[in-house]
Symmetry: C2
Subunit: 335 residues, 2 copies
């Protein structure tokens, strides 16, 4: 399998991106195509020993930054690593594309350069995050701040497909984020979305309140991109606050240090369990190609896991399955 990696995207590019690729080469059966400024990539690669035949460099002279305006930059910086990466994916020079760059540009670029799966109205940005019982997918986390009920239906189907295929969860449970659990709760939008999801070929649990999200009984969290963005970032923020408070407790004096030593194993496994990175990045579900957004602040480990995720994504045929489910759902709605 050939994974195209944007060597220039993200806060820690190119160093951590390339380091993560090298780690991936050590354990995964993948070829990596690094896209970006040749000299910069060469210089980084020199730091490592790795199977040369498994790495390719594709030169791209320009770089998209976080200050660039998404829709504009995709058209203007034609030789940006991200744009070149998309073209390569479209032309099947690689099986998946991973980038930690400008999220808006990645969304615009994927739509413009790769396109949607037939039948999908709105692709979504769908991060996977840890829960008490495993993990869940958030559809949508920010690609669509305004949604129509049909979008929610497709979010449910796409998220369900991902969790079933990539995370191997049988019959994943789908929940619609709302202000209450009763069927009649919420806005006109959520009410209509509810009835569409209820009749879809998915395991629809119903409305959920956000307090259920971290518990983990629901595997697919459906909401519009505004609400999803708030959920994702609040979970991150709460996590950071908790860690910082716990750290304060344990680093107060020699006795608390001793206490930390006694629960070291438990703390470590808790931290590991709650580590976002191990679940990889956020796929752009609905795009007719495997595009995975790695976190902007990705380090080597995040990139490693995102490449692993890209590999599973391609191996399990998520896109083909979404295509089929869309056709099936469209037919069901015709009659």
């Amino acid at each position: 399998m050939r994974i195209i990696v944007d060597a220039m995207g993200g806060d820690n590019a190119p160093q951590e991106i390339i380091k993560g690729c090298i780690q991936a080469l050590e354990t995964l059966n993948v070829h990596i195509i690094l896209v970006g400024q040749q000299e910069v990539i060469h210089k980084e690669l020199k730091k490592y020993t790795y199977p040369k035949e498994k790495v390719e460099i594709r030169h791209a002279s320009q770089v998209i930054t976080n200050d660039d305006i998404p829709t504009k930059v995709i058209k203007e910086k034609k030789d940006a690593s991200m744009v070149v990466g998309f073209k390569m994916l479209k032309e099947k020079e690689g099986d998946a594309f991973v980038s930690a760059g400008n999220t808006g540009a990645l969304l615009s670029g994927a739509l413009l350069k790769v396109g949607r799966i037939k039948g999908v109205h709105r692709p979504a940005l769908t991060p996977i995050f840890p829960t008490e019982k495993g993990c869940a997918i958030l559809v949508d986390a920010g690609a669509n701040t305004h949604c129509r009920p049909e979008n929610f239906l497709q979010f449910g189907i796409m998220g369900s497909t991902y969790m079933e295929k990539v995370e191997a969860i049988k019959n994943p449970s789908v929940g619609l984020v709302n202000v209450g659990t009763e069927a009649g709760k919420g806005t006109d939008l959520t009410k209509e979305a509810f009835s569409l999801l209820k009749n879809a070929h998915i395991n629809f649990f119903g409305n959920i309140e956000s307090r259920e999200i971290p518990v983990g009984n629901i595997h697919v969290i459906v909401c519009d991109g505004f609400v999803g963005n708030v959920i994702l970032k609040l979970m991150e923020g709460m996590g950071l606050t908790f860690y910082s408070e716990i750290k304060k407790i344990f680093t107060k004096n020699p006795i608390t240090y001793l206490s930390a030593l006694l629960v070291k194993k438990g703390l470590k496994s808790f931290k590991k369990k709650m580590d976002y990175r191990e679940h990889g990045g956020a796929p752009l579900l609905g795009i007719d190609g495997a595009v995975i957004k790695a976190h902007g602040s990705s380090n080597a480990l995040s990139i490693y896991y995102t490449i692993l995720q890209a590999q599973k994504f391609v191996d399990t045929g998520v896109i083909e399955e979404i295509r089929q489910n869309m056709t099936q759902e469209a037919k069901a709605n015709e009659y």
Copy 2:
């Protein structure tokens, strides 16, 4: 000061409600008027010794449950404890009204029976919650799932007034929840709200991402009631998940128990710091009377703190200040 308390509202009514009132009488200089079924209240009160002259009972034969339809029940159950409580507040038989009952009914009842402060378009449900640096107010947490930009402006002003008066925070910082921090981010609604808030007589920080909320640099969190409800419940859920995971770590074996003993003080003060109850309930800001919603699952301690909050609310003249700020803002927008 006379606090009217709905003795029949909430999951633990009347026992915990009345127990909380007794606790309040021990330390606060308040009179309590308990509204509800006389016999039930009498029976509970008999359990305690307390200054009899400071407690009054107002009989109300009916009870509003969580299954009742808010707008309907306020009109139909005319002798419900909540409805009677509102009437008493309106007729100045008491200075504030505290209830842990049906939130929707409380919102409807407050609007119908007490009314809005002149100039306020939409009252809001505004819980106070702990942050790393103290506490913050969320405006709105569910009263208005649909909002117009002017509502956000008023939310900012009302929240700011509350934090300045009741929590004694000078020049509280107001943030608009959005999907990014730049001024141009978000939906048409947030963009318009941004420009209104920017020109208001408040300390407007600008757009904030939800990861900033638990940190505590922003004291007034402005958003629509749908997003606010998601934020509030997700914070609750994350807190519960985190505690349950920490508990698992410490209760694993004798050694981890020992570890817990060594950081007992730190854990306790962390728990206290993050305890929602100490900040009281959620005022209904914009209502022309002090109405405070206690959490549905309130125990005696929550009720105690909600009564304390009601006392501060009245003492500091929040409503009069909001009235003045509304007039000032309306004038400013005329020219």
